[in-house]
């Protein structure tokens, strides 16, 4: 059966006794962007290298547009890749780097045209004769993108595409990168350990943990409806408290303190749970709810994060910068929380 897009089925990869990728299955619709997000050692880079063919699968298959490419060498897969440190060939100039992957069947004029188009796509028109070591980090990154897209790959792979750029440049490059990928409409997979990057670039984000897939969803869904306590705390900020369900959609975190909750699984009254609350979900309440003393304020502009010592532990909430000062006593309630069953209970 022919399926468009990229399909990973039951990928498994071991290095000795260590299982780097465990039975991972994923689908990327044609033209969309998948972000592989996870902490160090979660298997995201190995997954990317398995897709590219730089690592050999122990089991599983990689299919693109209906073609099983598992047994193909990287050179034969027609996947473009942008490396973390770009891997621009230092002995070739920009034009020669971009031309490197073009088919011999193209005429010289077609090649020139393709190089020019690819460089234009990344806003580097006329850079053909420049030496790569004369370029800034951002320009090198764009040349690497141009080089990867020039042969018109079926899939584009990025390994931590923005990690080598300074923060100021990162946001601009992220926007440009997103625009360029959208323009060529190629199915794209990229690896990152930064949630912000994954959310800004990815149509869909796959969260990996210990070599396995934890959740794959749109950024909004990941943030608002995390499927596990790990996803809830790894993606975005959250305070975790212990609680007991008092009904299917309410949780008690302390005597007299009850909040509305949602959960990825059906929960029964009396069940012990972990409760996660996003900082913006806390509201100040009038001498009711969870009480504590503000220990630290971190300004982020118009809003601020407040660290509060409470009888249940440390709690973080977000509010207007003038909402409280260090040493103030505050009362907090959660507008919404997410509950997960506690293991071993």
């Amino acid at each position: 059966m022919s399926q468009a897009g990229l399909h990973l089925e039951h990928l498994t990869k071991r290095f000795g006794d260590h299982v780097a990728v465990r039975d991972l299955s994923l689908s990327v619709p044609p033209g969309s962007i998948l972000a592989l997000l996870g902490p160090s050692g979660s298997g995201k880079t190995t997954t990317l290298r398995l897709i590219a063919g730089f690592e050999t699968l122990d089991s599983g298959s990689v299919t693109v547009d209906g073609e099983d490419v598992t047994a193909l060498r990287p050179a034969d897969r027609r996947f473009g890749m942008v490396f973390q440190h770009y891997a621009l060939f230092p002995h070739l100039n920009v034009g020669e780097n971009v031309r490197f992957g073009l088919a011999r069947s193209l005429s010289a004029a077609e090649r020139r045209q393709r190089v020019a188009e690819s460089l234009a796509l990344v806003d580097l028109r006329g850079f053909e004769e420049r030496r790569v070591n004369e370029l800034s980090g951002g320009q090198q990154q764009r040349v690497a993108v141009a080089r990867a897209v020039a042969p018109r790959p079926r899939v584009l792979l990025f390994d931590e595409p923005l990690s080598n750029l300074d923060p100021a440049l990162r946001e601009r490059t992220r926007r440009e990168l997103r625009a360029a990928i959208n323009q060529i409409g190629v199915t794209t997979v990229f690896v990152t350990h930064e949630q912000e990057e994954a959310f800004a670039l990815g149509d869909v984000v796959a969260v990996l943990r210990n070599g396995g897939l934890e959740q794959v969803a749109t950024p909004t869904e990941l943030y608002e409806k995390p499927i596990s306590h790990f996803v809830a705390t790894f993606v975005g900020r959250a305070t975790t408290l212990k609680g007991v369900m008092i009904s299917a959609d309410r949780v008690r975190v302390a005597t007299g303190i009850e909040w509305p909750v949602t959960s990825p699984v059906a929960l029964e009254a009396g069940q012990q749970v972990s409760v996660t609350v996003r900082p913006e979900m806390f509201v100040s309440s009038d001498e009711v709810g969870l009480t504590g003393t503000v220990r630290e304020v971190r300004y982020t502009g118009a809003r601020a994060f407040f660290e509060v010592d409470t009888q249940l532990g440390n709690v973080e909430f977000e509010a207007d910068v003038h909402a409280a000062r260090v040493g103030d006593t505050v009362w907090l309630s959660a507008r919404n929380a997410r509950a997960f069953p506690r293991r071993g209970k």
Binding site: A52, A75, F100, G101, R147, P151
Partner: protein, 544 residues
């Protein structure tokens, strides 16, 4: 999934080229299959003459290390620590002995300090003596030649090490109350330990395998390399085999001891790695004293080169009792160009060295790909095999190659190559393996593995990646390793003397033949040409 034993073919090739010949010598020393005997070994052990030759090899090597270190280390410090007029050019000039092939260095010394050498005649005349004031023979002469040609290892390694010593280390020591001398002794020298040990090992192994200096200047003073060749020339192959094994054993023991010394306490400097800048000598007097010292040293070191050039213009039979040669002409050079038999050894040396270098570079590329890029299962084995020829003295290797390739037994990997045009290029290739492999593998290690993957992701096959990416990026390493290998092969004497045939005789053999005929001018011409070819190769090899 498929799993090939990566590196198997390369390991087998290296075993055949390197380990197999040496093992055959070991077997032959105890008679070989069918006639096992310890008779030759016992004969060796009970012969005091053999023991004294072996001891001579060991002590002269140790003394060479001490003398070369005593010159090279302070000179390295001097050039790295102070700036004075002409420092850069002098610093390069005094590394020149490294491009002088050993035999050429030896004959240059002979023209300079030998019984009828320039300096000898000058000193004799100055003292009003009839005869020569000294006899430049025996252990002293060998030691002097060794120190001259090998101090460069200490000099270059010390400078390289000092360039890496973080300036803040020195400042830290001084802020803790160390005087300059204490800083050198307690901080700088311990940090230089790896470099000094490496230079000492290189000097020891080179001295142990040294052949040209003992051959020309040894006289009755016998070292093991000479002993082996004499036994072989006298047809006493069994003795030659045992002597070969004895010398190889000393080499391996030395390698092991140096390895232990290096592993026991190797320190790595941590820090930003900003080298301390050379100190400009402020006082005019100090600057000029330093400059005069430096230039004097350089002149002394360059005298052999200059002497060689001067003698190359002396027509045959014209320089007899005079203080300096009375006549000069281009006749010797004209002879070299016009007489095909004169030119032939030079052509032989050039093509054989080139072929061996290309072969050794190809092997090095193959090895680098297996060890570094593909992390072959057998990479440890490959790495060790690549270094064996370096640990084995040239005489030993030549005997091993001669033994292996003088028998026709294809089923055990033996063909008759001795006496053919192939034997010398093959021997040079085997000797060159560690040189090219060292350089090329280091080059591979500096290559970002992502380049290979980037090429593959762009659809490039293995050959295109090798041709367009790997080789161009490895160019400096290939040129450096290739140049050094070529220089070693083109000036080789120790292997050639045992394996050459009349038709494939290289320059070194022709130099000795010319000396034997008292055709000093022609010997010097060959020496000058070798020196220029070597210098040219080194310039090419260090171009970036």
């Amino acid at each position: 999934m498929r799993r090939k034993p990566l590196g198997l073919a390369l390991s087998l090739l290296l075993v055949w080229l390197v380990a197999y010949p040496i093992s055959l010598v070991l077997l032959e020393s105890v008679g070989g299959p069918g006639e096992w005997t310890l008779e030759h070994l016992v004969a060796f052990m009970s012969d005091s003459f053999e023991w004294s030759a072996l001891w001579a090899s060991v002590w002269i090597s140790l003394a060479s290390v001490a003398l070369a270190g005593a010159i090279g280390i302070p000179v390295g410090f001097f050039f790295e620590t102070f700036t004075f007029p002409g420092r850069r050019i002098l610093g390069a000039l005094i590394a020149l002995p490294v491009v002088l092939p050993p035999l050429v260095g030896v004959i240059a010394f002979m023209f300079l300090y030998g019984e009828s050498g320039f300096i000898t005649r000058l000193v004799g005349a100055a003292l009003g003596l009839d005869g020569s004031p000294w006899r430049f023979r025996g252990a002293g002469a060998i030691l002097l030649v060794h120190a001259y040609s090998m101090y460069v290892y200490f000099y270059l390694f010390t400078r390289a090490g000092l360039a890496k010593v973080d300036a803040s280390m020195i400042e830290a020591a001084q802020s803790l109350g160390c005087s300059q001398w204490q800083t050198v002794r307690r901080v700088v020298l311990p940090l230089l330990r790896p470099q000094i040990l490496a230079a000492a090992l290189l000097t020891f192994m080179t001295s142990l395998g040294s052949f040209s200096a003992p051959y020309i200047f040894g006289g009755v003073f016998r070292v093991m390399t000479i002993q082996i060749v004499n036994s072989k020339l006298n047809g006493n192959m069994n003795a030659a085999m045992v002597e070969t094994v004895a010398l190889a054993s000393v080499a391996f023991i030395a390698l092991w001891l140096f390895g232990r010394a290096g592993a026991r306490r190797s320190v790595a400097a941590t820090g930003k790695g900003v080298a301390s800048a050379a100190r400009n000598l402020e006082q005019p007097l100090a600057r000029w004293v330093a400059a005069v010292l430096g230039w004097t040293f350089a002149v002394v070191l360059l005298l052999p080169h200059v002497t060689l050039i001067v003698v190359s213009f002396v027509p045959f039979g014209t320089w007899t009792t005079q203080l300096i040669p009375p006549e000069y002409s281009l006749g010797n050079y004209a002879q070299l160009i016009q007489e095909p038999e004169r030119l032939r050894p030079l052509v032989n040396s050039l093509w054989m060295a080139a072929a061996a270098t290309i072969g050794a570079l190809s092997l090095a590329l193959w090895a680098g790909r297996n060890i570094v890029q593909r992390k072959a299962v057998l990479k440890g084995v490959i790495d060790r095999l690549l270094n064996v020829p370096w640990a084995v003295p040239g005489t030993v290797l030549a005997i091993a190659i001669a033994t292996t390739f003088s028998v026709y037994a294809p089923w055990v990997g033996r063909w008759i190559l001795v006496g053919t045009v192939l034997i010398l290029p093959l021997a040079y290739l085997i000797r060159n393996i560690p040189i090219t492999a060292g350089s090329v593998i280091a080059g591979f290690r500096q290559l970002d593995p992502a380049f290979d993957e980037a090429a593959a992701s762009l659809g490039a096959g293995r050959l295109k990646t090798l041709r367009r990416i790997t080789i161009p990026l490895l160019k400096p390493a290939l040129l450096a390793g290739g140049a050094l290998a070529f220089v070693t092969a083109v000036g080789d004497f120790v292997t050639s003397i045992q394996l050459y045939t009349f038709n494939t005789r290289p320059v070194s053999i022709e130099i000795v033949a010319a000396l034997r005929d008292f055709d000093l001018g022609m010997a010097a011409v060959y020496g000058v040409v070798l020196m220029l070819v070597s210098a040219g190769a080194m310039v090419l090899g260090t171009r970036r």
